[in-house]
C-alpha cells in the first residue's frame, strides 16, 4: 500500500514538469488559438541552448536558466512578429503547417549541430538527494523543486493575466482582437508577447527536463504530446486546470509504469482518451 502512495507522489511531482511544458501551449491557444506543433521541439531547443553555457562557460544550469529563458522569450517574440503573425487568420491551416515545418527544421537543425546523442544537464549531488519520509516514501529534492516552481509559475502567470495591464491586453485581444485594436491595443504585438511568455516557460521546462532525464533532438514530439494531453485533460481556458491536468497525467504515467515498466506512457495516453470520451471539455474546465 505504502509503495502505491510513493508512486502517486512521484507521479504528482512528474506532473509538475508536465505543467511547465503545458502552460505555454495553454497560453498561446487561449490568446490566439495557435496550436504550436513545434512546441516540444522548442522545449528541447532550450535544453540544447543551455548545454554550451554549462559545458563551455562552466555556468551552473540554474544560473544559465534565466539567460536561456530571456533568449527564448526574444526568439518567441521575433518568431511571432516575423513569421507566425502572417499566418494567423480564420483559416487554421497555415499556422498549423508552418509550426509543423518549424518542428522539422528545429529537430534536424539540432541533429546537425549537436548530433543525435543523448545529452543531460548536471547539477551535482542535488540531483539525487531526497527527503526520506518513513521507510518506503522518499521525495527527491529536485522533483519537489520542479513542482514548486511549476506551481509558482502558474500562480504568477494567472496574476499576470488577471491583475496587470499586459494581462488585460492579452485577455482583451483573446476575446475580440478587432475591438481591442480600437482601444489602442496592437494585436500583433500582444500575440508576440504571448508567444514570448510561452517560450520563457518552455525554457524553464526544457532546462528542468534536461536535468531530470536525458534528451535528444528527437525528444520534442513526446514533450508536445504530454503538454497537449495535460491541456485537454485539464480543460481549455484555465491555467490551473492545465496544471491539474498535468498532475493527472503524471500520476497516470507513474501508476502505469508501476504496474508494468512498458505501460507507463500508454497509461497516460489511455487516461487522456478516456477523458476525451467521458468529459470532452476536460476535468477542470471553467464554465
Amino acid at each position: 500500500m505504502i509503495e502505491w502512495i510513493d508512486t502517486v507522489i512521484q507521479g504528482v511531482l512528474l506532473g509538475g514538469l508536465y505543467a511547465l511544458f503545458a502552460a505555454g501551449l495553454s497560453i498561446t491557444y487561449g490568446v490566439m488559438r495557435l496550436v504550436n506543433i513545434a512546441h516540444g521541439d522548442f522545449i528541447v531547443l532550450a535544453g540544447f541552448a543551455t548545454l554550451p553555457l554549462v559545458q563551455t562557460l562552466g555556468l551552473h544550469p540554474f544560473v544559465a536558466l534565466p539567460l536561456v529563458a530571456l533568449a527564448m522569450a526574444a526568439l518567441g517574440y521575433a518568431l511571432q512578429m516575423g513569421l507566425l503573425n502572417r499566418t494567423l487568420g480564420p483559416d487554421i491551416l497555415p499556422p498549423l503547417l508552418v509550426t509543423f515545418g518549424l518542428s522539422i527544421v528545429v529537430q534536424n537543425g539540432l541533429r546537425e549541430a549537436f548530433s543525435a546523442d543523448a545529452q543531460s544537464l548536471q547539477i551535482g549531488e542535488w540531483q539525487t538527494a531526497s527527503l526520506q519520509l518513513g521507510e518506503a516514501v522518499a521525495i527527491g529534492w529536485f522533483p519537489l523543486l520542479v513542482f514548486v516552481v511549476a506551481a509558482c509559475m502558474t500562480w504568477g502567470v494567472s496574476l499576470l493575466f488577471s491583475k496587470t495591464t499586459v494581462g488585460m491586453a492579452l485577455r482583451a485581444t483573446s476575446d475580440d482582437p478587432a475591438t481591442a485594436s480600437l482601444m489602442g491595443i496592437r494585436a500583433k504585438h500582444v500575440y508576440a508577447l504571448a508567444l514570448a511568455l510561452s517560450f520563457a516557460l518552455m525554457a524553464v521546462g526544457g532546462v528542468f527536463s534536461g536535468i531530470r532525464t536525458t534528451f535528444t533532438p528527437d525528444s520534442g514530439p513526446v514533450s508536445l504530446l504530454y503538454a497537449f494531453e495535460a491541456v485537454v485533460i485539464g480543460g481549455l481556458g484555465s491555467l490551473w486546470g492545465t496544471f491539474a491536468g498535468a498532475v493527472v497525467l503524471g500520476v497516470a504515467q507513474a501508476l502505469g509504469a508501476k504496474m508494468d515498466a512498458g505501460f507507463g506512457i500508454l497509461a497516460g495516453h489511455l487516461v487522456f482518451l478516456l477523458v476525451l470520451v467521458a468529459k470532452p471539455n476536460g476535468l477542470f474546465a471553467r464554465k
Binding site: 496550436v35 513569421l83 491551416l93 515545418g101 527544421v105 537543425g109 546537425e112 504530446l225 500508454l266
Partner: protein
C-alpha cells in the same frame, strides 16, 4: 426583365479532352513497365506511388475536408501490420491481403473517429497523433507480430520472384489509378460540392443542408482505407516491418510536405509535390538531415508566401486543370 439570362455550366475545356487521352496513354505506359523495366525500377516506382497515394489521401482530408491530421502514420502501420497478420499468420494470399488490410484498418478507423472528432482544428491534429502513438505502443507489445523488433514476410518466398515483383507493381498501379479516379469522381459529385463548402465555411455549409459531421466521418474513413492500403503495399514491397518505421511520424511529414509544396486542395498538387520531394531527396541524399531541413524550410516559405502551392499558383495564373473539377459559368 423579360428574359432569363442564357447560360451554360462548363465543366471542362477542349484542352481537357487532349489531356484525357494523354492520361490514358500515360496509364498504358505505366502498366507496361514490367515488360521492359528491371526490378529496381519497379521497386522504386512502387515507393513513389505509395507516397503519391499517401499524399493524395492527406490532401483529401486537409484540402477538401478541412481535417488536418498529423496521425495518418497510424493507418500506414495498421495497413502494413494487417498485411502481415493476414498473409503471414492466417495464410491468406498476400496480394488479396492488401485490400483486406485496407478494409480492416478502415473498420478500426470508425471507433477511432469517435475519439478524434471530439477535438477541433489544431487539437484534432495533435489528437490524431496521440491515437497513432497508442497504436504504435500497442503493436510494439504484440508478440504475434514480433513486438518491437518486427518481422519478415517469409510467405513471399514461395511465390516466384518475377511474378511477385510484377504483381506487386501492378497492384501499385491499380491503387494509384483507382485512388485518383475515385477522388476525382467524388469531388465532381454532390459529395465533393459538400466537402468544398465545408472547407470554405463549416457554418455556412451546415446552414445550406450539408451534413457536415457525416461527410467528415466519411472522408476520414475513406482516407484511412487508402492510407492503410499504401501501408500494406509498401511493406509487401519491402518484405519487412517494424513498429518504429511503420508508425513513423515521417510518413505524415512526407505527405504534408508534398501536398503543401505542390498545392493543397488541388488534385494535381500532390503529383507536383511528390516530384519535388523525390527530386530533393535525390539531390540531397548525401547530406543526411539537411534534406529534412531544406524540405521544412521550403514548406514554410511556400505556406507563407504561396499558400496555394506550386500547382495552385500555376492554376490561378493560367487556369489550367489536368483534372477538371471547377464549374465555369458561360453567359450568353
Amino acid at each position: 426583365m423579360d428574359s432569363a439570362i442564357d447560360f451554360v455550366v462548363l465543366r471542362s475545356t477542349p484542352a481537357n479532352r487532349v489531356i484525357g487521352w494523354a492520361l490514358l496513354a500515360f496509364c498504358m505506359a505505366l502498366i507496361s513497365v514490367p515488360w521492359w523495366g528491371d526490378a529496381s525500377l519497379m521497386r522504386w516506382m512502387v515507393e513513389v506511388i505509395c507516397f503519391l497515394v499517401l499524399a493524395q489521401m492527406w490532401n483529401l482530408m486537409a484540402g477538401y475536408g478541412g481535417l488536418i491530421s498529423v496521425g495518418q502514420q497510424a493507418f500506414v502501420g495498421l495497413g502494413g501490420y494487417g498485411l502481415f497478420v493476414l498473409a503471414q499468420h492466417l495464410r491468406i494470399n498476400p496480394f488479396l491481403a492488401v485490400p483486406l488490410a485496407g478494409v480492416a484498418a478502415a473498420i478500426l478507423a470508425v471507433p477511432m473517429s469517435k475519439l478524434v472528432f471530439r477535438l477541433r482544428g489544431g487539437y484534432f491534429a495533435v489528437g490524431t497523433w496521440v491515437v497513432s502513438e497508442v497504436c504504435r505502443i500497442w503493436v510494439s507489445n504484440l508478440s504475434l507480430v514480433g513486438g518491437g523488433s518486427g518481422q519478415s514476410l517469409t510467405v513471399m518466398a514461395s511465390i516466384q520472384r518475377d511474378v511477385r515483383e510484377s504483381v506487386t507493381y501492378w497492384m501499385a498501379c491499380a491503387l494509384l489509378i483507382v485512388t485518383f479516379a475515385t477522388v476525382y469522381g467524388l469531388l465532381r459529385s454532390r459529395f465533393g460540392l459538400g466537402l468544398t463548402a465545408i472547407r470554405d465555411s463549416e457554418a455556412a455549409a451546415e446552414s445550406q443542408g450539408v451534413r457536415v459531421a457525416t461527410l467528415k466521418f466519411q472522408v476520414y474513413v475513406l482516407s484511412a482505407l487508402g492510407t492503410a492500403m499504401v501501408g500494406a503495399l509498401y511493406y509487401l514491397n519491402v518484405l519487412r516491418i517494424a513498429p518504429a518505421s511503420a508508425f513513423d511520424l515521417g510518413w505524415v511529414v512526407a505527405a504534408i510536405f508534398m501536398v503543401v509544396i505542390g498545392g493543397i486542395g488541388t488534385l494535381e498538387g500532390p503529383i507536383v509535390g511528390a516530384a519535388v520531394f523525390f527530386f530533393l531527396r535525390w539531390l540531397l541524399s548525401d547530406y543526411g538531415s539537411w534534406y529534412w531541413l531544406v524540405m521544412g524550410g521550403v514548406a514554410i516559405v511556400v505556406m507563407v508566401f504561396f499558400p496555394k502551392g506550386l500547382w495552385g499558383s500555376i492554376q490561378q495564373r493560367w487556369g489550367v486543370q489536368v483534372f477538371p473539377l471547377q464549374r465555369r459559368l458561360k453567359v450568353g
